[in-house]
Symmetry: C2
Subunit: 406 residues, 2 copies
């Protein structure tokens, strides 16, 4: 009897953690495990905003898959998924196809642009190493051009971030640190540069404790971030952004719009025929979509409801990692011939949002609020804990955030 | 009786050295010396190609004027010259005007584009801190974009340098060092990138010893530089360059053309009414244009003939510095009431062209040829000697090239 094939799509938080856990729990004769990923590396999506701002190098954020995957136990295929065919138990790749007995889908998010005119064409999104370092260079290139033009263009120095949710706030926090350095590098007065955060909701960080939101906004405003709250983006072009606030239309001249206001599940998953809601697939507490006993969905594409709030859990790294651990354990049970799968229950440890290098806000463990240095330190603890799980102490030493006093 | 006004235009090699020498040779009651410059800093034009390639930071290349000029002895006006009126003994600035008794013009070069279609609009020139760091960022931005596009554009990775004279050769030498770093930074295979040097003359480095030229070309070709010699650039657009070689037209897809093939004197000087030849003003051995006893021209705008070769001396830093020293000495004589001015005679020490960090060629002292490390070391000696003249040992320590083993 041949070994069952387990195929894992995507080496994001969910996919890579599933692979790492399976290589520990399964023996070489239990199953063939294959991990498929577009790049040779995994990256920490939650650090990309730092790479995009230019405050952290992207080599700190990415981890070569070969550094955490034992390729004598798990096959690694570097390729791009083009189609999932759950009826045929197949996955089509740009350069091949794979058959599976069990499939783990960890394909992550796409930006949701809500049909806003010109947004898709003219705004950047922070969703990969490639896009993050392009944003870094795009901002810097505009600064470099500024003093080379006889007629100074303010659009080069206005940076607009769409969305004051988690990513938007963390990104403007990094920009507030980075902009003074760029001003020095290109001989531009700091006061000429604007960092503008536009949010449609009536508050920044919707869902966060109001006291924390106020702290965050004060901290960021003190470092020169402008907020436009309750402002709907209407249009983005190559050199301006139009929004509406209090029934007034306003324009901002800008070459740089970074969209951090909406995500949806990967469209490949929706196109595979699963029932979907904005690209996310409702799954049971075993993380399988209804009617598919051989498919597990982990991370951003999985839709699970929070019974307490009656709303879906947000797509976070924390939940993706927990889902991956659960899925690896359940797959191991299935491979060993057990019928009973353990149900998934999120164990939320809390949330910390950084506000640049030296400041942060957070809620951890039973609603305790954190501000400033203690929140910054907690964020680093969380990040290092993930690296420890993924690659042990060597990986923490190599990629961890170990300077707690910076 | 009021003190005579000496006005110095430009803080390039010629202008700043004139000012530094005058502040030593003249007392506070001898004359009012005013130095006018667009920026608050002097820069070493001969290092700009390193800043443009990204192999040396521009802060190493520039020197704050206040670090070498004693402002209690020399006035510094940061402004842009708009017109020279030798008839009225006046200089018009963007934000003012100055009257002079003696004028020293050290306004430097402009790119000569010889009417090549699209060159002025689409090619970069290495002529200031602003333009150099823009070239650095432009190249890097194209590398950053490359992997973000579904259809890869070769034009982003083809870098074309127009001219294999001194600057062109030195620039491609730095690029050959820089490109592998950029490839690593942006996950691009080195073999996808082309560095192409296009020269209209029948040889690279026209005027150099053929043995040195061969050495230089071999060194650069070994590091991946392609030469198109005897190739006339016909047209430059946003994304291509057209040249003609052996009566064949060829196109290179490229977003990056750096023009290093021709300079002319500053057009302000020509427009002032002096007799001019491609923007350069023939001057006597006292460095004054015929008919103007109160005007001295130093550096790139001064045209002096080499009696031995029957051709004009090239506009080099070495000659500009010697002219400045001569002019400061002669001005001191005039201020002190002496009639006799010392004639200028260039004292050519030799020439060294770098080929990146670790290689160079040169001719120094009586036609001795230098290759490799000894030429690299000689280049650094020359650069440090200039800094020593300009600002003494502290400036050498701050901005000098002191690592002779790199």
């Amino acid at each position: 009897m041949r070994n069952p094939n387990i195929v894992i799509l995507g080496a994001g938080y969910g996919g890579i953690m599933t692979a790492v856990k399976l290589q520990k729990s399964l023996g070489a004769n239990d199953a063939n495990v294959t991990l498929v990923n577009k790049h040779s590396y995994h990256y920490q999506t939650t650090w990309l905003h730092e790479n995009a701002a230019g405050t952290l190098h992207h080599d700190r954020t990415r981890i070569q898959i070969s550094d955490v995957i034992n390729t004598s136990k798990v096959n690694f295929v570097q390729d791009t998924v083009t189609e999932i065919k759950p009826g045929d138990k197949k996955v089509m790749l740009e350069n091949g196809e794979l058959s599976y007995d069990y499939l783990v889908i960890g394909l992550g998010f796409e930006a949701a642009t809500f049909g806003i005119s010109g947004l898709k064409e003219n705004a950047f999104t922070i969703n990969s190493i490639n896009s993050a370092r392009l944003i870094r260079q795009h901002i810097e290139y505009n600064f470099a051009k500024y003093n080379n033009e006889a007629e100074k263009k303010q659009e080069r120095l206005n940076i607009v971030v769409g969305g004051a949710g988690f990513t938007g706030i963390e990104f403007v926090g990094e920009l507030a640190n980075r902009v003074p350095e760029l001003c020095k590098e290109y001989d531009i007065p700091r006061e000429n540069v604007r960092i503008i955060n536009v949010e449609a909701a009536p508050t920044a960080l919707p869902g966060f404790d109001p006291e924390l939101v106020e702290y965050a906004m004060n901290s960021l405003e003190a470092r020169g971030v402008e907020f436009k709250i309750g402002a709907m983006i209407k249009e983005v072009t190559e050199n301006k952004l139009v929004f509406e606030k209090d029934e007034q239309r306003e324009e901002i001249e800008t070459n740089t719009v970074v969209w951090a206001a909406g995500v949806r599940g990967n469209s490949l998953v929706e196109n595979a025929g699963f029932v979907a809601n904005r690209g996310r697939i409702p799954v049971g507490d075993d993380l399988r979509p209804e009617g598919y006993d051989d498919v597990f969905i982990v991370g951003d594409c999985a839709l699970i409801m929070n019974e307490e709030t009656g709303r879906p859990y947000p797509p976070t790294a924390q939940i993706a990692i927990q889902q991956a651990e659960q899925t690896a354990a359940n797959l191991t049970r299935l491979i060993r011939g057990e019928d009973h799968l353990e149900p998934f229950e999120p164990d939320l440890k809390g949330t910390v949002a950084s506000l640049g290098h030296n400041d942060a806000i957070g809620v951890v463990f039973d609603d305790k609020k954190l501000f400033g240095w203690s929140a910054t330190a907690m964020k680093k603890v969380i990040d290092n804990r993930y690296l420890l799980k993924l690659g042990g102490i060597p990986l923490v030493l190599k990629k961890g955030k170990l300077n707690f006093f910076h």
